[in-house]
């Protein structure tokens, strides 16, 4: 087979099941592509070539023996380097944890292995999932395959860049203030943050206990649903884990949007944080397309992005301070500057401020729940700007907070960001969909309708 690097996970798994493709051939093809391109993209912190090939050979033997493990049998995956993979370092892209070897797989990784996936290695992140594109860390920051002079979003930066560049079809990331959806937006792929508690966080280095989510990054909506099917499920040893039955998230993908009520949160990008005109036009195009497909589009109002952002940051910085205080006291010089500045903030937030943010949080949850009683799905911006040049620190600092992702970390609702089109400069534009708690199937249904209408799954960067 040719063009193996653009196969989706679903296509690869089907070809492997049908013995039309060998997992070893696929893994070799991706390892060769990684070797050729990763000097430009800096996606990997640790490529585990030998273990990946061993796993691929085992997967091939299992298929030959008629014992497929699951729906991702033989499919290579990348893992953000805040998520434990047994025997590999979990560095969080930081000097602080440079020698930290994971004793066991995180629950989400062991579930991927149980579904048959092959772990390729550990991927770049913003330091501790909070810094930003930084040049003062032990490894360089990942770059955007659509234009390597630009950042790929973050904090799951290697996950986004690698999936978009065809280094692997699917990856895991984490999302505390938008860190799956940001790289999905910047790299023109699909990134989802499931309902809080749907995917176990055990074995994932925490940033903020009540805001952290694990989620998949993929090139298609169908692959995103496939990944969520594999990693979702109750974990009795994760205190925040939700005891809900499995979702079968890929089951209703092709149902379309006819008759669905979609709430468009225009004030996010029109008045709260006025978006780049191309971003705004892209959002209007998504809404108009879904309307043409039969959806009823209504305006919805929520609290402002300024308020959501403040509550997110007060909670995040307080909880992150509780984790990082010992290292910030003893080893402040071992952090990069961006992470150090952000993590130190928690030292200046009082216990009372944290409780007030948690009380305001409940009001915000009520506001989103009220909105989702009027409509089936919410549509809004993800990023207000196309990704900036990675070495323009001032522009990155200006544009990074101009986003509408943090509200749904505050409330825990499932949210998905994906490509809305391309800018005149050839950089991805994005849209975000939000659904009711545990209604990821509805989220994928709407996202798939947009994907099918716009052909976003056929758009790849010319990185070769």
């Amino acid at each position: 087979m040719t063009g193996l690097h653009w196969l989706t996970a679903a296509e690869a798994a089907e070809a492997i099941r049908g013995r039309k493709l060998s997992p070893v051939e696929l893994t070799h093809a991706l390892l060769d592509r990684i070797e050729r391109l990763d000097t430009k993209l800096h996606v990997f912190i640790r490529l585990d070539r030998d273990a990946a090939l061993e796993s691929a050979k085992a997967a091939e033997a299992e298929i030959t023996a008629g014992r497929p493990r699951g729906p991702l049998h033989g499919v290579p995956v990348g893992i953000k380097d805040i998520i434990d993979v047994a025997g590999l370092p979990t560095t969080c892209h930081s000097k602080i944890l440079i020698d930290n070897i994971a004793a066991a797989d995180a629950v989400c990784v062991s579930r991927l292995r149980a579904a048959g996936a092959i772990v390729l290695g550990k991927l770049s992140t913003h330091e501790f999932a909070i810094g930003g594109p930084s040049f003062d860390l032990p490894w360089p920051p990942a770059r955007n395959p659509w234009n390597t002079a630009h950042h790929p979003g973050g904090s799951s930066s290697g996950s986004g860049s690698g999936v978009a560049a065809g280094l692997f079809p699917v990856a895991l990331g984490s999302d505390t203030g938008g860190s799956v959806r940001n790289p999905a937006s910047a790299c023109g792929i699909v990134g989802s943050k499931p309902t809080y508690g749907l995917v176990s966080r055990r074995g994932v280095f925490p940033l903020s206990f009540t805001l952290d989510h694990v989620g998949p990054l993929t090139r298609t909506v169908s692959d995103n649903a496939l990944m969520l099917d594999a990693i979702a499920g109750h974990d009795p040893l994760d205190a925040g884990s939700a005891a809900v039955p499995p979702g079968h998230y890929a089951a209703g993908l092709e149902r379309g949007v006819r008759g669905l009520r979609i709430g468009f949160i225009r004030h996010f990008h029109e008045t709260d944080l006025p978006a780049d005109p191309e971003v705004a036009a892209g959002l209007e195009n998504v809404a108009a397309t879904l309307h043409k497909l039969g959806a009823d589009i209504r305006d919805i109002r929520l609290p402002t992005l300024g308020e959501f952002g403040a509550v997110n940051r007060v909670i995040l910085q307080s909880e992150a301070w509780a984790i990082h205080a010992p290292w910030l006291r003893e080893r402040p010089g071992d952090y990069g500057q961006l992470a150090r500045r952000r993590l130190l903030g928690g030292a200046f937030i009082s216990a009372g401020d944290y409780v007030q943010a948690s009380r305001r949080r409940l009001e915000m949850i009520a506001a989103v729940e009220d909105a989702l009683r009027e409509v089936d799905v919410l549509l809004c911006a993800s990023a207000m700007d196309p990704p900036s040049r990675i070495e323009d620190a001032a522009e990155t600092e200006r544009t990074y907070p101009r986003q509408a992702r943090t509200p749904f970390n505050v409330t825990g609702h499932p949210a998905l960001a994906m490509m809305a089109g391309l800018s005149s400069a050839g950089l991805p534009l994005s849209v975000q969909f939000v659904a009711r708690y545990f209604a990821e199937g509805m989220l994928f249904q709407v996202a798939r309708a947009w994907e099918r209408a716009a052909g976003t799954d056929e758009k790849h960067p010319r990185i070769d």
């Binding site: 402040p332 130190l344 200046f348 409940l362």
Partner: protein, 60 residues
């Protein structure tokens, strides 16, 4: 936020080393945190509860 208050709070938090080696980062972090707190609209209703709630019997 006043510089003397920032230094006092930083020392109380045990950040002497950061204050000495990265004073601008400490100041920047304090000012940013103060800005976030100022932007929050705390509930005035006394019965407004924080989230997540205490739920006995549902833990590990």
């Amino acid at each position: 936020m006043d510089k003397a208050i920032i230094e006092l709070l930083a020392r109380r938090a045990g950040l002497e080393r950061a204050l000495k080696e990265f004073p601008e980062d400490v100041t920047s972090a304090a000012e940013q945190a103060s800005g976030w707190v100022a932007k929050m609209q705390a509930p005035r209703e006394p019965h407004a509860e924080p989230w997540p709630p205490m739920k006995p019997g549902t833990g590990l």
